[in-house]
Amino acid sequence: MKKDKTNVGSRTVLTAMIILLLTITGACSKTEAPTPDEEKTGQFSIEFDNIMGEETLSFEPRVYKNAKGESFRIKLLQYFISNIKLYKADGSSYTVPQDDSYFLVNAADRTTRFTKVKVPEGNYEKVEFVIGVDSARSSMPVEKRTGVLSFNPEEGHEGGGMYWGWNSGYIFFKMEGYCELISDNQQGDPTGNKQFKYHIGGFGGYNAPTLNNIKTITVDLKTAGTAQVRKGLRSNVHLFVDIMKIFNGPHTFSIVEHPNVMFSEYSVNIANNFPHFFTHDHTENFVKSEDEL
């Protein structure tokens, strides 16, 4: 009986201990995400995960088909992301210092898919970024064009040909590939290589106004996961970037009819599809290492 009592007692102690343990564990996980301290900074990234409709994206020889029923292959895909801004629930925002806010996503190099920046601790519900390079930076002198905006080997953009030398403008979005339906004449690809080229840019002009294809994208994070930025940890907003939307967006077009679109009025239609590329899939918070992503 005494033993029983002891048993009951030990069970009570055990229960109490479990409760205590749970409390401690709870407290511990809470210490991982204490109230954000705006004086501290944590790491934040947006992940640009390129997809093709309901499939993953890969380069040729993989074949995709657009809404017009045209089969095509991808050879090259690169685009600039810049001017990252984060919003909290109360409407306040943090703009990443502009000098640190330029990225070149190259689908051929998976390490370029993250736009890594440092931001104050906080719970962010909305992110904003530009696909392209803003007109202010596009007008700046050479010494202000650093990192991916420079012409330097290893870090710059021109190895990827993301610049028009003749009009001093960055190419915001560049995609090239093949479609066997393209004609071999001037309206198609006179080299007979069946290539399509979409080089979309236009920052609005320096002295004279012209094309402005700069698109600001806003992504609401409330449904698929807010970004909780904490010191020493990383918050990663994982976006799907559906490249198929270039053909199948609100402006649906045929590769054969428009195999080459560069600095021309028609490029406006393609740039208008850009905002429809992006969906927020999920957010990974309190990440300790990029290997977890």
């Binding site: 002198p141 050479v142 010494e143 012409f151 080997p153 021109e158 009009n167 001093s168 004279a208 012209t210």
Partner: protein, 354 residues
């Protein structure tokens, strides 16, 4: 006494040798704004011209490594003896003898330009080189690759160190050195300039003076003094060429800019033939005949060419034409063509000039 003479002789010889080695510092004066010129538009505070920076820029200007197969330098198509144009070529031939669609503009008085090239597509002199380097019919190369070649070259790291303090070869330093050379290409020693500066011994002849007055009345609204360009873009009534080059419109995509091209300077006009954006006119006489009788009407034709009687162009008698040509020749600046400061350094000789 004899010893003293020998000593003086030796000293003089040593001094002469030194002078020979260092002949450039005697020529290099830095950038000087000519008295009769307006304030430059280039922002020198971002790129102070130094002797070392200029010398590096000069070497780069004549460096064929700027092209894909190391055959074409800036100086291949911008030849000093032709006021830095490509004499005798309607359009330039670049790498592998590929032809472009435009006549190279002279590199002259660049510090006063707001925009560059016939269509004004480039708005910063520091970025002008990218156009030629990356154009598939000019140098067909990329800037990062040029920088790689310069970094691997035995001379350039030291030259960049002399110019910029460290041997780092970056895009900004590369572009700025090239700009330093181009900015020093100032042409302001034509007879016209001597006359305007009221220098002793210089005066227009009677014919030149009559030509000057005709110019002022009929040409100066676009080719205004002292740069002889208002740096605007205008349609001067040329028929569209086979390439259907629409000029400024290709940069602005504005139909109102169709067939408009940069108003070129009239300075060094005798040396910059052939004329117009596609080099279609071989002689100055033919250029003036175009304005007299050859204009083609189009919606964007510059209104200055529409006369009250409905005719197009500039009316002039044969005598007025002769006078005008006599005046235009006073804009030739031989000093600019022979200025040793700007001459190709011997070290770079060996690239194709033809």
């Amino acid at each position: 006494m004899k010893k003293i003479f020998v000593l003086i002789g030796i000293v003089a010889l040593v001094w002469a040798c030194k002078k020979g080695e260092d002949s450039i510092p005697d020529l290099f004066t830095g950038f000087l704004k000519p008295n009769n010129f307006p304030e430059p538009t280039y922002n020198f505070s971002r790129n102070m011209i130094t002797k070392e920076g200029f010398e590096l820029g000069k070497r780069l200007f004549y460096e064929p490594r700027l092209s894909r197969n190391n055959t074409v330098a800036c100086g291949s198509c911008h030849i000093q003896s032709a006021a830095f144009t490509h004499h005798g070529h309607d359009v330039s031939h670049g790498i592998d003898d590929r032809l472009g669609i435009r006549n190279p503009m002279p590199i002259m008085n660049m510090a006063w330009q707001k925009e560059f090239f016939w269509d004004g597509g480039v708005f910063d002199l520091d970025l002008a080189a990218v156009n030629a380097i990356t154009n598939p019919v000019e140098m067909d190369e990329t800037v990062p690759n040029v920088l790689r070649k310069l970094r691997a070259h035995p001379d350039y790291p030291a030259l960049f160190k002399k110019a910029f303090g460290t041997d780092e070869i970056t895009d900004a330093r590369f572009f700025k050195a090239l700009s330093q050379y181009m900015l020093m290409a100032v042409s302001n020693n034509a007879k016209y300039d001597h006359v305007m500066r009221k220098e002793a011994g210089y005066a227009f002849t009677e014919q030149e003076q009559k030509g000057y007055l005709f110019y002022q009345k009929n040409c100066s609204s676009c080719h205004n003094e002292p740069l002889f360009t208002d740096r605007s873009y205008r349609n001067n009534g040329l028929s569209p060429n086979r390439a259907n080059d629409t000029g400024r419109d290709s940069v602005t995509l504005n139909p109102a800019d169709r067939y408009k091209f940069k108003v070129p300077s009239l300075r060094n006009i005798s040396y910059t033939a052939p004329y117009m954006h596609d080099g279609r006119f071989l002689t100055l006489n033919r250029v003036i005949e175009h304005y007299r009788t050859g204009m083609v009407d189009s919606p964007t034709l510059d209104p200055v060419f529409r006369q009250a009687d409905g005719s197009l162009g500039i009316k002039m008698s044969d005598t007025e034409k002769d006078n005008l040509i006599a005046f235009l020749k006073t804009l030739d600046d031989r000093d600019f063509l022979t200025n040793k400061l700007l001459a190709e350094p011997e070290i770079n000789s060996g690239f194709v000039v033809n």
